[in-house]
C-alpha cells in the first residue's frame, strides 16, 4: 500500500467518523465528546458503559447510533428476573414436517451488532456475567455449542448512578470488560432549549444511515494499523502504573485513595483509544496527547477507590487528572 493510499484511507476514516458524529448530533443535543467516545469504542472493538441520571439521552443516543450505522440493533432491558437465556438464547424443541422433534438454538437478543443493555445493574450477577462473557469472547456458548457473534459486536450498557436500591453493582472484574466508561452530564440551558425544540414538535428529527457494516470493519482495521512509538507506549504504561498504589511509580493521591489500580486492559484501552483519537486529528502516529485525551474514560472505572476516598468524596477522575499532570512524557 502506498503512502497515498494510506493517506486516503486516513482521510476516509476521518470523514466517516465526522459524518457519523454529525448525523447523531442531529438528534442528540451536545455530548459531542460522548458521541466521539462511543464511536471510539466501536472502532477500537470495545464496549461502552454509559452512566447518567435518567432522561439525559443514554438510550436515545444508542438508538440513534444504531440508526446511523445501519447495524442490527437489539435492546435488552435488564431487570432482576432477567435470565441468561433471555439474553443469549435457548434451545427449544422444534418439530419438522415429518414429525421429528429436535432441539434448535433460538438466538437471543445478544445476536446483534449493537446491543443496548439498559440498566445493566438491575439484573442479577448471573445474567450480567452471561452478557459480559459474550462481550469478552465475542461468542456465546449454549448447550455445548459455541455460537460466534456477528461483527461488529458492540455492547452499550447503561446504568443509573442514583437509584442503587435493588441493584446489583457490576463487579470490578466485569467493569474491566468495558472499554470506556462515559458519563453523561445534565445538559445546560441552551442544550435544554434545543432538546425541547427538537422533541416537542410534530416532526422529530430523523437520521440517515451513513455507514455500512463493512465500512465500520474497515475503519476498525485502519485504527489498529496506526503505529505507536515506544516512548508513547511507555508513557501509557507509566500512567497505568501510576494508578497502582503499591507501585514505585504511584502518585501520592494513588497511595492515599486507591485500592486497586488499572489492569493491563486499561493500558490497551489507552493505546487503542489514542489511536482512534490520533486518526481523528489527522495523524498517523499516536502522541502522548492522544493518550491523555482518552485516559479518563479508559481508566476511571478501572481505578478502585478505598474507603478514605469515598469518605472524602474523592472520585477517580480527580486522581487521574493529578496523575496525568504528574507523569512525565518519556524521551526518545
Amino acid at each position: 500500500m502506498s503512502s497515498v493510499a494510506v493517506d486516503r484511507q486516513i482521510q476516509a476514516f476521518r470523514e466517516q467518523f465526522l459524518l457519523v458524529r454529525d448525523e447523531i448530533s442531529r438528534v442528540i443535543v451536545g455530548n459531542e465528546e460522548i458521541i466521539s467516545g462511543v464511536m471510539t469504542c466501536l472502532l477500537a472493538r470495545g464496549h461502552v458503559l454509559l452512566e447518567g441520571i435518567p432522561g439525559v439521552g443514554k438510550t436515545r443516543l444508542v438508538q440513534t447510533m444504531a440508526d446511523v450505522l445501519h447495524l442490527k440493533f437489539s435492546r435488552i432491558q435488564f431487570t432482576p428476573d432477567l435470565m441468561p437465556g433471555d439474553i443469549i438464547g435457548t434451545n427449544i424443541v422444534r418439530e419438522d414436517d415429518l414429525g421429528r422433534k429436535s432441539f434448535e438454538f433460538q438466538r437471543g437478543p445478544i445476536f446483534a451488532n449493537m446491543v443496548l443493555a439498559d440498566e445493566i445493574n438491575r439484573a442479577t450477577p448471573k445474567t450480567q456475567s452471561a452478557l459480559l462473557e459474550a462481550m469478552q469472547e465475542n461468542s456465546v456458548s449454549a448447550a455445548g455449542r459455541t455460537h460466534a457473534l456477528d461483527q461488529p459486536f458492540f455492547v452499550l450498557a447503561t446504568q443509573n448512578p442514583i437509584e442503587m436500591e435493588g441493584t446489583y453493582p457490576l463487579p470490578e472484574a466485569q467493569m474491566d470488560r468495558f472499554f470506556f466508561k462515559l458519563k453523561l452530564d445534565f445538559p445546560d440551558i441552551d442544550q435544554l432549549h434545543l432538546i425541547i425544540d427538537r422533541t416537542t414538535r410534530l416532526a422529530e428529527p430523523s437520521v440517515e444511515r451513513v455507514l455500512e457494516q463493512g465500512q465500520i470493519l474497515q475503519m476498525r482495521e485502519t485504527a489498529r494499523a496506526i503505529p505507536v512509538a515506544r516512548p508513547v507506549q511507555e508513557y501509557a504504561i507509566k500512567v497505568t502504573l501510576a494508578t497502582h498504589p503499591e507501585s514505585d511509580q504511584a502518585h501520592e493521591m494513588t497511595k492515599k485513595y486507591v485500592r486497586f489500580g488499572s489492569s493491563p486492559r486499561g493500558t490497551q484501552a489507552l493505546i487503542l483509544g489514542a489511536k482512534v483519537h490520533a486518526l481523528m486529528n489527522d495523524r498517523v502516529y499516536v502522541s502522548c496527547e492522544d493518550v491523555r485525551a482518552v485516559a479518563l474514560p479508559a481508566l476511571r472505572h478501572r481505578v478502585l477507590l478505598n474507603f478514605e476516598a469515598e469518605a472524602q468524596r474523592v472520585d477517580a477522575d480527580a486522581i487521574l487528572a493529578q496523575i496525568l499532570e504528574w507523569v512525565p512524557e518519556s524521551g526518545a
Binding site: M1, S2, S3, A5, V6, D7, I10, A225, I226, P227, A229, R230, P231, V232, R283, V284, Y285, V286, S287, C288, E289, E329, G331, A332
Partner: protein, 520 residues
C-alpha cells in the same frame, strides 16, 4: 532514505546547538558557584588569616576541593552530547509537534516500515525541514553567565581591595604589638624611679596594658588608672613645689639661707640639699652645746610633707640666732621628699608623654566606636529634647557639668551657658565635667603651736598651716559621691581623691598656673 537523512540531519544540527547551549549554561553555572565561593572566601580571608590561620588553611583546602568537584561535574555534564532522540523531544516540545519527530525517530529504526509508518516518517521529514533551529535553540548568553560576570567583577574588586584590607588588619595587629612593646618601654622608664605609691600604681597599670589578651574594656580601665596615677603624682609634686616655694620664702628671710632659697627657687634641689647639709654641719657644734635641752623641744607636729616644710622654714627663719638643728634635719628631709616627688613627677610625665604618643594606636585598635571614647556618648540623652526641653537626669547632669565649666576670663557668659530652658538655643561645646577652684576645695587653716618659754618670746605658738577641706568642698564631695554611686563611667566619676579623672589635667594645670599667677 531521503526522509531519514532529512530528519537525522536536522535533529543532529539541533542537538549540536542544544549541546553548545547546555555546555555554556553548565559552565556558567559552575563558574557562578566557583566565583561565589571565592568571593565568600575573599571576604572572610582577612579575618581568618589574622585570627584563625589554621581554619583559613582548612577552608582553602575545602574550597579547592569544591572547585575541583564543580569543574569535574561541569565537564561531565558538558561532555554529554545531546542525542537525536533528545533533540527530537526538544523540537516536539519547542514547536508543539505533538511527538511527531520523537515518533518518527523511533519508527526510523523499524524494518520494514509499514505503510502507515512510512507515511508518518514522510510527514515528519517535511516538518523537520520546516523547523527553525535558531528559534528552537537560540544562541544567547544564559542568565547564569550574567551572574558569573557580576560575581567576577565583585571578585576582581575584592582582589584589589584585599591587600589593603590585609594591610589594615596587619597595621591593627602591629598596633597591638606595638602597644605592648610601648607598655614595656614605658615600664622601663619607671625603673629606678623613687619609691612612690603613684609610681607603683602607674607601673601596675602599665603592667596590665602589657598583657597580650587584655580586653578593650580592661585596657581602657588600665589607661584610666595610669592617667589617674600620673595626675595624682603631678598633684603631689605640685603640692611639694608649693611647699618648697613657701619654704624658700621663709628661708629667704635669713641671709644664711639665702643661697639655699635661691637654689630652691631655681629648682636646683641637689644644690639646696648640699647647702643645707653644709649648714647643718656648720651648726653641729651649736647643737652639741644645746644637747642638754629636751629632745622634743621645738618639734613641730607634722600633718603632712608641705606642712612640715613650712613649719621647719619658719623655725629656721624665725630663730636665726639659735639654729634649730632638728628643724634643719626636717627641712633636709622635706627637701629630699620634695625632690623625690618632683623626680617621680618627671618620671611619670615622661611616661605620660610616651603614653599620649601611643594612644593613637590604642584608639585604632580598640573595638569601641569613636564616639564611645567621648564623654557625652555615654549619656542616654545628652541634649534636651527640642519639643519639651526636658532631659534625662543623667544626660542633663552631664550637659550641665559641661556647660558651667568655667574658663579663664569667661565671666561674660557665666550663668548663661546652660542653654535655654526650652532647649532651642545651642549650648556651648562640651568641654568635660565641672571643676572647682582650689579655694573651694581646700581651706588653709592654722593650728597654733605651743612652745617653751625660751623658744617663744611672745608666749604664743607659731601656727601650723595645713589645708583642710572647705565646707563647700564637703558639700560637693557628698554630691560627687552620689554622682559616682549612680554609675557614671570611670572616667567621668571620681576616685578617692574626689577629682574627676577627666578633669585631672585641668586641676593639675590649675595648680601649676596658680603658682605662676602668684609669682606675677
Amino acid at each position: 532514505m531521503k526522509e531519514r537523512e532529512t530528519i537525522i540531519g536536522v535533529l543532529q544540527d539541533l542537538g549540536r546547538r542544544l549541546w553548545i547551549a547546555q555546555a555554556i549554561r553548565e559552565t556558567a553555572f559552575g563558574v557562578c558557584v566557583v566565583l561565589f565561593c571565592l568571593v565568600c572566601f575573599k571576604l572572610i580571608e582577612p579575618v581568618l588569616a589574622s585570627d584563625l590561620p589554621s581554619a583559613a588553611a582548612a577552608i582553602r583546602i575545602v574550597l579547592l576541593t569544591l572547585i575541583a568537584a564543580v569543574v569535574v561535574e561541569v565537564a561531565s555534564h558538558s561532555a554529554r552530547k545531546v542525542t537525536v532522540g533528545q533533540a527530537a523531544a526538544q523540537a516536539d516540545a519547542g514547536a508543539h509537534l505533538k511527538d511527531e519527530l520523537k515518533s518518527a525517530c523511533w519508527f526510523l529504526s523499524e524494518k520494514p516500515m509499514s505503510p502507515f509508518t512510512l507515511l508518518q516518517v514522510q510527514r515528519a521529514a517535511a516538518t523537520a525541514a520546516r523547523l527553525d533551529l535558531a528559534a528552537l535553540a537560540p544562541r544567547r548568553l544564559p542568565t547564569n553567565a550574567l551572574f558569573a560576570a557580576g560575581l567576577g567583577l565583585v571578585l576582581a574588586a575584592l582582589t584589589w581591595l584585599t591587600p589593603q584590607l590585609s594591610r589594615s588588619w596587619d597595621s591593627i595587629r602591629e598596633a597591638g604589638a606595638q602597644e605592648r612593646r610601648q607598655s614595656a618601654d614605658l615600664r622601663s622608664l619607671l625603673k629606678d624611679a623613687p619609691q612612690d605609691p603613684e609610681v607603683a600604681k602607674l607601673d601596675l597599670a602599665l603592667g596590665k596594658l602589657q598583657q597580650a589578651g587584655i580586653s578593650p574594656e580592661d585596657r581602657m580601665r588600665a589607661l584610666a588608672d595610669a592617667r589617674d596615677a600620673i595626675d595624682q603624682a603631678n598633684m603631689e609634686a605640685s603640692a611639694a613645689r608649693e611647699s618648697l616655694e613657701n619654704l624658700a620664702e621663709s628661708l629667704r628671710a635669713d641671709p644664711k639661707f639665702e643661697h639655699v632659697a635661691r637654689a630652691m627657687d631655681d629648682g636646683r634641689m641637689d644644690d639646696a640639699l648640699v647647702l643645707m647639709h653644709k649648714l647643718k654641719t656648720d651648726t653641729a657644734g651649736v647643737r652639741e652645746e644645746k644637747a642638754s635641752e629636751p629632745a622634743g623641744k621645738g618639734e613641730v607636729p607634722e600633718s603632712g610633707t608641705g606642712q612640715a616644710q613650712e613649719s621647719a622654714g619658719r623655725h629656721l627663719s624665725g630663730k636665726s640666732a639659735a639654729v634649730n638643728q632638728d628643724a634643719m634635719t626636717r627641712v633636709i628631709n622635706a627637701l629630699e621628699q620634695a625632690k623625690e616627688k618632683i623626680e617621680a613627677q618627671d618620671r611619670v610625665n615622661n611616661v605620660r608623654r610616651h603614653m599620649e604618643d601611643s594612644l593613637i594606636t590604642t584608639t585604632q585598635r580598640s573595638r569601641l566606636t569613636g564616639s564611645q571614647f567621648d564623654n557625652r556618648s555615654n549619656a542616654p540623652n545628652p541634649t534636651p529634647l527640642p519639643e519639651t526641653g526636658s532631659t534625662n537626669v543623667r544626660g542633663g547632669t552631664l550637659f550641665r557639668q559641661a556647660a558651667v565649666a568655667r574658663e579663664k576670663g569667661d565671666n561674660a557668659h557665666e550663668g548663661s551657658q546652660t542653654g535655654d530652658a526650652s532647649g532651642d538655643s545651642p549650648a556651648l561645646p562640651l568641654e568635660g565635667a565641672a571643676t572647682r577652684r582650689l579655694d573651694a576645695q581646700l581651706k588653709l587653716e592654722a593650728i597654733l603651736q605651743k612652745y617653751d618659754a625660751g623658744d617663744e618670746p611672745n608666749g604664743k605658738g607659731d601656727p601650723g598651716w595645713f589645708y583642710s577641706a572647705s565646707r563647700e568642698q564637703k558639700s560637693v564631695l557628698q554630691a560627687e559621691s552620689v554622682r559616682t554611686d549612680i554609675g557614671y563611667d570611670r572616667e567621668v566619676g571620681t576616685d578617692h581623691s574626689r577629682v574627676p579623672m577627666r578633669q585631672k589635667n585641668i586641676v593639675k594645670n590649675y595648680f601649676l598656673n596658680l603658682h605662676e599667677s602668684e609669682k606675677k
